[in-house]
């Protein structure tokens, strides 16, 4: 029934490599810097064990996509990556057309490694470029400069069928003109996918402390909105329109893995601090694993998995998550699926008010999406719809 109502959101495998060469001051991801070499063989074996344990819970499935994220997965040896991909293929059905993405940092890129990843099966690379000027790269704590970034892009294009890279904008003092120019230049290097994130000051990061101390000021709401709108205009004009709040692609080049998240599909998460959501015994389960790499490793070696928590989502929780994720997509959500999850329709009065304000609009008979104006204030729109 679900398949008829909505396209199958897919089934993905997320693998978290938790190590970085250095911690960036804006990053609140689960990443760790180690001064001794990481025992990749041991970690590789642990990934394989945790994957096998997960397989017992999900049962046999066909994998839509695999995503190696981090941390800095490009610090993994190609053999480690190959081992993980082999383990996945041993547990589930992995079709020929599967999407396999690896996140890479321009500073840790070498031609040999890229060739190795490609040989292992990786067919898409996502590069953390972040900026195309050296001053801002230093501000963002990146270990590469612009010329290294461009070199990495070139190498990636030569080695992988698909390539995306990330940029961070709304940096302190950044004007709409600066950013538009930088973005246009970025698009000239881009393949068919770009992730463009507004700089967000997350709690617990060095930037957070700096801002609290009054030493860092980021653009206010008006400036941030103008930067966002400029981003939409430039990318649309250059043929890379947004398909999600911060993701832009040519038609058909969207990240299939990330679409699983936003279309509220199922995914298994392995590695330290990874999250998963899949259907078990007819109910949607949340899993998350131990965040500290060594502790996770120990858990997996002793018990076969590093999962430290999990819960079954209630209807309301599932419906909330579905709205939260789905409305980020330009394609919007299927209201029939919402009703099935929530056990009730969205409140017509709320929909009416938001439509009147031009923030949401219907799609076909049973779809709903945020308008471009709605996207800029999506969190508030979702909060309005969700209760």
């Amino acid at each position: 029934m679900t398949e008829i109502l909505d396209r199958d959101p897919g089934f993905g495998i997320y693998v978290h490599w938790p190590f970085c060469a250095a911690k960036c001051p804006y990053c609140d991801f689960n990443s760790h810097v180690r001064h001794q070499p990481v025992d990749q063989v041991r970690f590789g074996a642990a990934f394989a064990r945790e994957l096998a344990t997960m397989r017992q819970r999900t049962g046999p499935r066909e994998v839509t996509s695999i995503f190696l994220g981090g941390g800095t997965p490009s610090l993994m040896d190609p053999q480690t990556v190959g081992g993980i991909l082999d383990a996945i293929a041993a547990e589930w059905t992995v079709p020929q057309n599967v999407e396999i993405t690896l996140e890479a940092n321009p500073s840790s890129v070498e031609a040999d490694r890229f060739r190795g990843y490609r040989m292992a099966g990786v067919n898409r690379v996502s590069l953390g470029v972040q900026a195309l000027n050296d001053k801002d790269l230093r501000f963002l704590g990146r270990l590469h400069d612009v010329s290294e970034a461009l070199h990495a892009i070139e190498l990636a294009r030569a080695n992988f069928p698909r390539l995306s890279f990330d940029l961070i904008y709304a940096r302190p003092g950044q004007t709409v003109e600066d950013w538009s120019r930088e973005l246009e230049r970025a698009i000239s290097y881009a393949a068919d996918h770009l992730s463009l994130y507004q700089l967000t000051i997350e709690q617990g990061t060095p930037f957070f402390a700096l801002r609290a101390a009054g030493k860092l000021s980021v653009p206010g709401a008006e400036q941030a909105a103008q930067l966002y709108e400029a981003t939409q205009a430039v990318t649309a004009a250059q043929g890379l329109p947004a398909y999600e709040i911060s993701n832009h692609a040519k038609s058909g080049a969207e990240s299939r893995h990330n679409l699983i998240y936003w279309r509220y599909g199922e995914y298994v998460g392995v590695g330290p601090g990874a999250h998963g959501r899949f259907i078990e015994n007819g109910q949607r389960i949340v899993t998350f694993t131990e965040r500290v790499p060594e502790t996770w490793l120990d858990l997996v070696e002793r018990k076969g998995q590093g999962v430290t928590g999990g819960e079954t989502l209630s209807r309301v929780e599932e419906a909330d998550e579905f709205l939260l994720m789905g409305l980020r997509l330009v394609e919007g959500i299927n209201l029939v699926r919402f009703e099935k999850l929530a056990g009730r329709p969205l409140e017509p009065r709320r929909i009416a008010v938001l439509r009147e304000e031009g923030l949401i609009e219907p799609v076909g008979n049973s779809g709903l999406r945020a308008t471009p104006a709605g996207m800029v204030v999506l969190d508030a729109v979702v909060a309005d719809l969700a209760r």
């Binding site: 998550e321 729109v381 969700a386």
Partner: protein, 602 residues
């Protein structure tokens, strides 16, 4: 009847400003006459409620019977009636004073005479009291007894040459106070034990075990157990169950005779059935002349009290009911507001009374409340000749039907160090005050102003305290109703009127009040997905306007598989927050906005 002859009974009260040491002196008198064992002493015995002890105010009248062996070798019975000191309870004070023949005027030897002292001492003089001035805290380095004595003579016009110098805290001179009570205050006037009973109802309160306890002063006749009595004011008839005196323990006696003060219980269900100032007489032989000065309690200030959480309404109903059991001067009726849901419109004797009730509701009953802005009682003279009283601005009749509106005025007395005089004069002028008198006693100025009460309920006291850095003291009494150019100011949020925020204001103040309210609301109502005009209006005319701009940007940049739980938790919090908001058309106004907007400050 106790066997003490009238010549050895003294009934007295203590008149003092807050913090000048009334309760400490009372404690000391109780201690020195051995009325309580040392282990039974705790501070401020007569202030029974926590709120009284903490704030250093007396809300309910209380009494204690002291047994004193004087230096002349005679045994005396000294009845101390502790009176509420605040203007809100002026009527109760006058009745307590009516039960006594003399007063101690306690003045802090460094602070000097304050406005509240004045009002109460005049009341005591009105009741023909003999007054003994007592300078307290003379042991403190800042004490200036000579200056303060001079001030008592200048400001009050009382001979202070033989004022007592004491320290209630250390006990210095307290023995002399007892002697002065015996020798300088008169005994009760001769009453006739054989005459029909005539007793003054001084106060009453509710006791969980004994029911309503009535404090009485017998004038003529004898009040005894088993007697059937009648209250002349209410007409109610009761049989007396118990007669007793308070030492401060309750001690039962057979009867109370002329001049004596004590209590009775008579199976009275509610305090509301007893009226302070009423005359109690015998059912069989009724006195023909009731005591003068009786009047029923009149609420002066009204405000709406609403539960923050609508589910607490039943608890609020139970709580106001319980408070009313013990406080007949507090009145309430159910009210419903589009903004605040169901609550009660409550009437109070004044601002302090309002504050006390609010505090007791939240403290003793653990209720979260929103109080609307206090409003006075307006008289509406309608075109058809009818006169109605308006307790709630939301109930204001159509302007077309109103011929004129009258508002209550007060006469305020303010005492202040002269360096703050300029600022205080300006405050009174700004509040439509009319100066009646200005005089000096040393470096202190005494200012008498006629002011509309509605300007005073609007944060006047807070402003006065702040501009005088706490040094000015203030007291007032209601004088009359005067016609005023009053208008109803409505507040519209996104073109929807918000009933809880409407108020009656003088036309000359409307622009300023409207502007302040709109500015406040602009900060208090969160941004929405659309812009929200906030307007203050009189009739159809907008007098002030602010606009809350629409939310410009609010979207999480990054949201992937691992972020879902965190984002969902945030969303749940937001939803929880929205539950605590009230919906006005499309706009959601947080409870907090009402609480802040209605705070009486500008």
């Amino acid at each position: 009847m106790t066997k003490t002859p009238l010549s050895r009974i003294r009934n007295f009260s203590i008149v003092a400003h807050i913090d000048h040491g009334k309760s400490t002196l009372a404690d000391r008198l109780i201690q020195m006459t051995g009325s309580l064992e040392h282990r039974e002493m705790k501070e401020q015995i007569l202030d029974a409620m926590d709120i009284e002890r903490e704030r250093g105010i007396t809300i309910k009248a209380n009494t204690v019977r002291l047994e004193y062996d004087a230096r002349d070798g005679q045994h005396y019975v000294l009845n101390l009636i502790d009176t509420p000191g605040h203007v809100d309870f002026a009527y109760e004070v006058s009745r307590s004073l009516a039960a006594c023949e003399g007063s101690l005027l306690v003045v802090d030897a460094s602070q000097g005479v304050e406005a509240q002292t004045l009002a109460n001492v005049y009341q005591a003089l009105d009741n023909d009291h003999e007054i003994v001035p007592v300078l307290n805290k003379v042991d403190l380095p800042a004490a200036e007894p000579e200056r303060v004595k001079q001030q008592i003579e200048d400001v009050i016009g009382l001979d202070a040459s033989n004022a007592l110098m004491i320290s209630a805290k250390t006990g210095l001179g307290v023995e002399d106070v007892l002697e002065a009570i015996v020798h300088r205050l008169p005994p009760p006037r001769e009453g006739e034990a054989g005459d029909p009973l005539k007793a003054l109802l001084v106060d009453s309160w509710y006791d969980a075990y004994l029911g309503v306890i009535v404090l009485v002063r017998v004038i003529d006749g004898v009040l005894k157990k088993g007697q059937t009595v009648r209250m002349l004011g209410t007409g109610a008839k009761y049989q007396v169950d118990r007669v007793g005196v308070i030492t401060p323990k309750m001690v039962m006696v057979e009867s109370l005779g002329p001049g004596e003060i004590g209590f009775i219980t008579a199976s009275i269900k509610e305090v509301a059935d007893t009226r302070v100032g009423d005359t109690i007489t015998e059912e069989k032989r009724q006195t023909t002349r009731p005591l003068p000065g009786f009047k029923p309690a009149q609420p002066v200030v009204f405000c709406g009290l609403f539960p923050v959480d609508a589910d607490d309404f039943d608890d609020l109903r139970a709580a106001v009911g319980k408070l009313r059991l013990n406080d007949a001067s507090f009145s309430y009726e159910m009210e419903s507001s589009a903004a605040l849901g169901f609550g009660f419109r409550c009437g109070f004797l004044g601002l302090l009374h309002l504050e006390i009730i609010q505090e007791r509701l939240s403290r003793e009953f653990d209720l979260d409340l929103i109080a609307t802005a206090p409003s006075v009682v307006y008289r509406m003279n309608l075109i058809n000749g009818e006169q109605i009283e308006l307790h709630n601005p939301a109930d204001m009749p159509d302007v077309m039907k109103i011929a004129s509106i009258e508002e209550p005025w007060i006469r305020a007395t303010i005492l202040t160090p002269d360096e703050h005089l300029g600022a205080i004069l300006k405050l009174c002028q700004d509040r439509r005050g009319i100066q009646a008198d200005l005089s000096y006693a040393g470096s202190r100025a005494m200012l008498v102003y006629d002011l509309p009460l509605n300007e005073v309920v609007f944060d006047f006291y807070d402003r006065l305290k702040s501009i005088s850095r706490g040094y000015a003291s203030f007291d007032y009494q209601l004088t009359d109703y005067r016609e005023g150019d009053l208008v109803k100011m409505s507040i519209l949020v996104n073109a929807e009127p918000v009933d809880a925020l409407s108020m009656l204001v003088h036309r000359s103040q409307a622009d300023k009040r409207g502007r302040v309210m709109c500015e406040k609301l602009k900060d208090l109502i969160p941004q929405h997905l659309f812009k929200i005009p906030i307007q203050a209006a009189i009739g159809g005319k907008v007098i002030a306007r602010e606009t809350i701009s629409a939310l410009r940007k609010d979207v999480t940049a990054k949201c992937y598989g691992g972020d879902v739980t965190r984002k969902r938790k945030l969303l749940e919090k937001q939803k929880e927050g929205k539950k605590r908001m009230r919906q006005f058309g499309k706009v959601e106004i947080p409870q907090e906005a009402f609480i802040q907007a209605l705070k009486m400050s500008d």
